[in-house]
């Protein structure tokens, strides 16, 4: 039977197992909305801005490992979605975004709500497609999901002209797809893995440095097994938190610009660095000239272009993290060589000394609400088991430092692009994926206002998100840099004329709380968590000049941290 393009799209999404679609209607996608209206398998979530549609789909993907799906109209619908697409691209998040387009015969004529969506999104997608013939639609959707979810994942855009959604074709959804130009390497090279294992075992001062690739590649269990098998220290990047249990004694915390002293010192002094699913980002390495000066480096990554991009490595292994880790575990079990116990003992002794610096301690006697205290209260009150999204800035770092993630898929933040406004819509996506879970959005008074309109979406769908706003009346990270590097000239970093967030939350039908006394923090958090069915906006009036420590200033090495 012949179906319209719109019906083919909806049927194809069903075939892909899509349950939720985050979107916003408009002229070019009216046929698609009509087809969605006439079915019940896919729930369409109406956001209040297209940026939120992409962030929500992104949050859905980050908390499940499945592709998130967004649907927006042509022109401004597509351009509003770009920030969310770029956010997903930088963090390698599987996502399929369908953008409406003007009629094929109008393309290029500056038609109403026309924009070159393919051209605009090209540099921030894994791939994109313009479908000009309805006969190609089903296969294109199959390819889009295949590309988005395999290899190094990423967003894929399908640009769909309005006439294609009305035209008819036979519907045959391909069961399998293979592409001559795309077949990601999964299995690591056995010779290289063997070299890596030998190098690992020869280490006197080893460390595992692992990133978002371990989460995305579903390798958390394997990583944990391997690290514990060897009794080596491990640090995670901002994107990699949760891939190794943060409460385990071998975990040194996050590394990098605002990483722990022990993680960065262990990195700096190591002799064998085992990098897995991480990309040597500038926020991690500090000054590249001073990075791990004594280390031989092993690097496992599914994307060959990540290897030796910023830092030259000694043993590169291209392959799926899980696959390579399994091979390493097996090889270690079969072999009779063990790590050098004596060297390792001394190494741990040194690390314990570094830990003694207690770099995350903060002033608890100030009489002001400290942001760190709020995150710790959130951690306790949720038993460390919440899904936590964040926006971007100081609060993001405090959440990463003080919420100890024991499981992957729990920490959801825009690490690469650093997109303010991400937290709340991402939390919506997470809540749809995990309706019974506690979802908290740690944010600031700056970030939350970038997608504040989504409080309306949360009301419409009854999403009981717990918003933890660390309100210091400043764009805190900007202010911190201005304090350190611009002699305290706080240009445009003070947030004047803030709304009353309690009333704001209430006007959207939610619960608002303001907490300005440190003694009230725990009680407020407990009360908020008890309101299981309600969105609670907790406005914590925090110490306005608190800084994120430790910190590596620009140009410095990992061993040159500023402690408190």
């Amino acid at each position: 039977m012949e179906l319209t393009g719109a019906e083919i799209l909806v049927r194809s999404l069903k075939e892909e197992g899509v349950k939720h679609l985050f979107g916003y209607p408009g002229g070019a996608v009216l046929h698609i909305y009509d087809a969605l209206y006439q079915q019940e398998d896919i729930k369409h979530v109406l956001v209040r801005h297209e940026q939120a549609a992409t962030h929500a789909a992104d949050g859905y993907a980050r908390s499940t490992g499945k592709a998130g799906v967004a649907l927006v109209t042509s022109g401004p619908g597509a351009t509003n979605a770009v920030t969310g697409i770029a956010t997903a691209f930088m963090d390698s998040i599987p996502m399929v975004v369908i953008t409406g387009q003007v009629f094929t015969n109008m393309i290029g004529n500056d038609a109403f709500q026309e924009v070159d969506s393919i051209g605009i999104t090209r540099p921030c997608v894994k791939h994109n497609f313009l479908v000009k013939d309805v006969a190609d639609l089903a296969e294109t959707i199959k390819k889009a999901f295949y590309i988005a979810t395999t290899g190094r994942p990423g967003p894929v855009v399908i640009d769909l002209p309005k006439d294609v959604t009305a035209a008819k074709a036979e519907f045959n959804y391909p069961k399998e797809i293979s592409m001559r130009s795309y077949s990601p390497v999964v299995e690591g090279h056995m010779g290289q893995i063997k070299r890596a294992v030998t190098m690992m075992l020869s280490a006197q001062r080893p460390i595992f440095y692992t990133g978002g690739g371990v989460v995305l590649g579903r390798g958390a269990a394997e990583l944990t097994e391997l690290v514990q098998q060897l009794n080596y220290p491990v640090t995670n990047t901002l994107m990699g938190l949760g891939a190794y249990p943060a409460t385990d004694k071998q975990f040194l915390g996050m590394l990098g610009m605002h990483g722990t002293y022990e993680a960065n010192m262990t990195m700096h002094h190591c002799d064998v660095l085992i990098a897995i699913g991480a990309r040597f980002d500038d926020r991690v390495t500090g000054n590249i000239e001073k990075f791990c000066p004594h280390a031989k480096i092993i690097h496992v990554d599914i994307d060959p272009s990540s290897i030796s991009k910023n830092v030259k490595v000694d043993v590169p292994i291209v392959g799926s993290v899980t696959n390579v880790l399994q091979e390493m575990i097996a090889m270690l079990k079969e072999g009779d060589k063990k790590p050098d116990e004596q060297a390792l003992g001394e190494w741990w002794k040194q690390i314990t000394e570094w830990r003694g610096a207690d770099c995350l301690k903060y002033d608890t006697e100030s009489g002001k609400v400290k942001p760190q205290q709020v995150v710790e209260a959130l951690y306790r009150e949720t038993n460390g088991d919440a899904y936590v999204t964040s926006d971007v800035g100081q609060h993001q770092m405090w959440a990463a430092q003080y919420y100890k993630f024991d499981k992957p898929y729990r920490w959801i933040n825009s690490g690469g692009l650093g997109t303010m406004g991400f937290g709340l819509p991402a939390a919506m996506g997470v809540q749809f994926a995990h309706p019974d879970a506690t979802v908290a959005c740690v944010t600031g008074e700056g970030s939350i206002q970038m997608c504040i309109q989504e409080l309306s979406t949360c009301l419409q769908y009854g999403l009981p998100i717990k918003i933890v706003a660390l309100n210091n009346r400043y764009l805190g990270m900007v202010r911190q840099w201005q304090e350190f590097f611009y002699d305290g000239r706080y240009a445009m970093s003070y947030m004047d004329a803030l709304p009353d967030f309690v009333k704001l939350a209430e006007s959207y039908g939610h619960v608002g709380m303001r907490i300005d006394n440190p003694a009230d923090v725990d009680g407020a958090m407990e009360e908020a968590m008890k309101l299981k069915d309600r969105l609670v906006f907790m406005d914590f009036v925090t110490d306005s000049e608190e800084n994120v420590y430790p910190m590596i200033p620009a140009g410095a090495g990992l061993n040159e941290m500023i402690l408190v």
Partner: protein, 155 residues
């Protein structure tokens, strides 16, 4: 690469977005109309070339990539060179074209257009041999390359 609309802009966009040099780029369909073949001439350190190779391979439309410079290969480029040709210069350009195996393909009372197909280096040499103020205009096709011997992109 796949002979798809936009494939060329993906390559061009990659070079500009990542700040790589692009000296010339030629592209046309192959014996298989679903595939285009592109020859890109670029420059950079060993690390940069390695990154360019990896980044190009990552493009979904790229089917196969070979670094021709790593092996024996042939480069050919065509140039059309229009020069002022009056008086003694007419004879001189004729001789010069012969030496370089070029052909004069258009003649007027005051100009020649010379076609030259050779490696990029030879074309540069030829242009250098002509007095700069005698040149009216030059158009170069960019380099096309192919491996020597039986080797091909297919195998």
């Amino acid at each position: 690469m796949e002979n798809e609309t936009g494939a060329l802009s993906r390559v061009a966009g990659l070079f500009s977005a990542r700040g790589y040099n692009i000296e010339s780029l030629t592209v046309a369909p192959t014996e298989d109309p679903s595939l285009s073949r592109m020859t890109v001439v670029t420059s950079g350190s060993e690390e940069i070339i390695e990154q360019i190779t990896k980044q190009l391979n990552k493009l979904i439309d790229v089917v196969k990539l070979v670094n021709l410079s790593e092996d024996e290969h042939i480069e050919r480029e065509m140039a059309l060179i229009k020069v002022k040709a009056v008086g003694e210069a007419r004879e001189e350009y004729k001789r010069l074209a012969d030496i370089f195996n070029g052909r004069i393909i258009d003649v007027t009372e005051a100009s020649y257009t010379i076609e030259l197909t050779d490696s990029g280096d030879k074309i540069v040499e030829f242009i250098a041999a002509i007095n700069a103020d005698q040149i009216i205009e030059i158009v170069r096709s960019g380099v096309s390359g192919i491996a020597r011997g039986e080797k091909s992109l297919h195998a």
